[in-house]
């Protein structure tokens, strides 16, 4: 009897292991391609594994490095050469073009599994041209704080770096929650005028800047306008009398803020804003609440750093102990593997 029981048990175990093995094999077959939602909201099938990548945007490259997948990068955007300090390991990779367009022959020669680019650019003809060579196009933006977590999660699945993606998302969430918690008791929101690189061009609803301002507890004076990046009249800004003015800039003394050592360039920009005709009647100018912030920590993977600075500027008394610079240092050293340096805001 005992013999029968043992034999039956062994047989059951054998069949079970067969079934399980088949199940795993089946799963493996299924997992050869995954379905993700790209930045344009489309569901696309991505064949796995993705072991060689061509990356056309700095935003995507930053996330790839944060996921510890730098080794998978086979080709990069050409402008990377202008920021060698920030990209010490990737700066010498083959250059294939820019976020607007690429050299197809170079890409085909590199034989990547996929090209990673923005949702809108380069145009949709890229998919058609690369399909015959078996190269997939993955469109993820990584420039809006709203979608950042979902996009990081999708890229984590594509690169099979789910654990690293979860860690990065957790870091984002913790810091956002901490900021929300700190701003929970705030009752009145300051009126904020945000200006892009081009003078008098502000950020309305639908822009990344508008979303960051709201997250940091500010009231964007352009929140009722109908387009994302409208030009507004100086007279309207004067009438809205903002409490804080934030100028976002790409201009610096060096090619990038990471290589910048002095605050001179950002200070000049601030001085020019303060000297604008009739702006001495604006509250923010009277109280000196004009802040210049570099594009590097504005919309993009480091939008959370920019948002932290906004919160600190909006509520200096509430957030005395809050240190956005420390947050930035933590991000660069823990997730990007580079030392913290550079000038990103003025005044700090």
């Amino acid at each position: 009897m005992k013999k029968y029981i043992v034999t039956i048990s062994i047989l059951i175990l054998f069949f079970y292991s067969l079934v399980s093995a088949e199940g795993i094999t089946g799963q493996a077959t299924e997992r050869k391609s995954i379905r993700i939602r790209d930045a344009g909201g489309r569901f696309v099938e991505v064949r796995l594994p993705v072991k060689r990548l061509v990356v056309l945007t700095s935003d995507a490259l930053e996330i790839i490095r944060a996921l510890g997948a730098e080794d998978l990068v086979a080709g990069v955007y050409s402008d990377i050469a202008e920021d060698p300090l920030f990209w010490p390991k990737l700066k010498d990779k083959p250059k294939v073009g820019s976020w607007k367009g690429l050299n197809y022959e170079l890409v085909v020669e590199l034989n990547p599994d996929a090209v990673l680019c923005y949702a809108q650019r380069p145009g949709r003809d890229m998919e058609k041209k690369l399909k015959p060579f078996g190269i997939q196009v993955i469109r993820l933006d990584f420039f809006k704080l709203d979608n950042l977590e979902k996009e990081v999660e999708a890229l984590g699945r594509i690169l099979q770096k789910e654990k690293e993606a979860r860690e990065l998302i957790a870091w984002y969430r913790n810091n956002l929650n901490q900021m929300r918690e700190m701003l929970r008791n705030v009752t009145s929101r300051p009126d904020v005028y945000i200006e892009g690189d081009s003078n008098y061009h502000t950020t309305g609803p639908g822009s990344g800047g508008h979303c960051m301002c709201a997250l940091a507890g500010g009231h964007n004076i352009a929140s009722n306008l109908s387009i994302p990046y409208p030009e507004v009249t100086p007279e309207w800004i004067l009438m809205r009398d903002p409490n804080v003015i934030v100028k976002v800039t790409t201009r610096s003394t060096c090619d990038t803020c990471y290589a910048m050592t002095g605050v001179g360039a950002l200070k000049n920009i601030r001085n020019r804003i303060m000297a604008r005709p009739a702006w001495d009647h604006i509250g923010a100018v009277k109280e000196g609440k004009i802040y210049v912030i570099a594009n590097e920590i504005w919309t993009g993977p480091r939008a959370i750093i920019g948002t932290s600075y906004l919160a600190k500027w909006f509520y200096p008394d509430f957030l005395k102990a809050f240190d956005p610079e420390a947050l930035h240092k933590e991000y660069l050293e823990n997730f990007q593997g580079i030392k913290y340096q550079g000038v990103y805001v003025y005044p700090n």
């Binding site: 402008d79 820019s98 976020w99 607007k100 367009g101 892009g196 690189d197 081009s198 003078n199 008098y200 061009h201 306008l225 109908s226 387009i227 990046y229 409208p230 030009e231 507004v232 009249t233 100086p234 007279e235 309207w236 004067l238 009438m239 790409t250 201009r251 610096s252 003394t253 090619d255 001179g264 360039a265 000049n268 020019r272 005709p277 009739a278 001495d280 009647h281 594009n295």
Partner: protein, 341 residues
């Protein structure tokens, strides 16, 4: 004979009346522009602020924000229209304008160069200076080609079109190389805007636009004779080559001064002279001031509409000038029975 003299006098009086009418219309548009804006400073308050107040918010709004915009709009409109009239006269071509000869596209290229390469030294003056330099460079190129070959209108127009394509392609190349933000800045510059001008910019632009005006007026009879053809003009004592060469330089100078601070404002240089010519004919003594006034009115009206009809958002000036100018131009074109050119 008496009859012809009488008719000429009568016609001249009518032309003069038209110019006076344009001055009155321009004054009316100025009054409207002065009283419109995002603030509550209305018609009477703006006048009070203009003449009586020395300080305060209303004074700052009128003197620092509205008035510079109005003055620059008039200057730019007058300058572009004047340059267009001169180009059309010296090249004997109704399609000639600052754009046909590549002056605007080279000026645009100058701005693009400054935006892309200036880094922290980026400033409005650098953009303006670079735009101005390249506009003059284009005119010198045309002159060089004309001098080497011959200063016929065909040579100059063909050289101008070639230069236009060259600088447009160069601008596109730099835009292609630019970052997202730089491309935005370039696009905005090409839209044209009066928001960034203050009294300093007006001072610089007005010197460059107004200085050549007396010379242009002095040459108005020569421009008239050029219409009869180079041979006839030469026979009547006009130094055709000199006037064509100098005309290109002066008109380019005016164009460069008009657009270097404000960005490309299309269409005015082409349409304002035609509107004036349709109404008062081709006598440049009257045509030059009339087209300048029409240019000033069109740009000021376009800017006032652009900043008020979708306030506080601004519809770029370059877009509104076409919206206003094209229907008006079509209306006159359909109404005119005989060939006016």
């Amino acid at each position: 004979m008496q009859d012809i003299c009488e008719q000429y006098k009568d016609f001249s009086t009518r032309k003069l009346f038209f110019i006076v009418l344009l001055v009155v219309v321009l004054f009316g548009v100025v009054l409207i522009a002065l009283s419109q804006g995002a603030s509550s400073v209305g018609f009477f308050e703006s006048f009070k602020a203009l003449f009586r107040q020395k300080t305060g918010l209303a004074h700052a709004i009128v003197w620092e924000l509205r008035l510079p915009r109005i003055v620059m709009a008039i200057l730019v409109g007058c300058g572009l229209a004047l340059a267009g009239s001169v180009f059309q006269a010296i090249l004997r071509n109704p399609l000639a304008s600052p754009y046909t000869l590549g002056i605007a596209s080279s000026s645009g290229f100058g701005a693009v160069v400054a935006i892309i390469f200036s880094g922290s030294y980026y400033s409005q003056y650098l953009i303006a200076g670079s735009a101005f330099f390249f506009a003059l460079l284009a005119s010198l190129l045309i002159l060089g080609i004309a001098k080497f070959k011959s200063a016929t209108p065909e040579t100059m127009i063909l050289a101008g079109i070639a230069i236009m394509f060259l600088f447009s392609s160069l601008s596109s190349l730099l835009q292609y190389m630019g970052t997202v933000e730089e491309v935005h800045e370039i696009v905005f510059w090409f839209f044209g805007s009066l928001s960034k001008v203050g009294w300093k910019e007006i001072g610089v632009a007005s010197v460059m636009i107004l200085l050549p005006v007396p010379v242009m007026l002095r040459w108005s009879w020569d421009f008239n004779l050029l219409a009869a053809g180079d041979e006839s003009a030469k026979a009547l004592g006009v130094n055709v080559t000199r006037i064509r060469m100098c005309g290109v330089v002066f008109a380019s100078l005016i164009t460069a001064a008009a657009i270097c601070f404000t960005g490309v404002i299309g269409f005015i240089g082409l349409v304002a002279p035609h509107i004036a010519r349709m109404v008062i004919g081709g006598d440049h003594w009257f045509l030059l001031p009339a087209s300048a006034l029409i240019g000033g009115i069109l740009v000021l009206a376009a800017d006032t509409l652009g900043r008020t009809c979708w306030a506080p958002q601004i519809i770029p000036l370059g877009i509104v000038t076409s919206f206003i100018g094209v229907p008006f131009f079509f209306y006159l074109l359909m109404k005119k029975k005989r060939e006016y050119w």
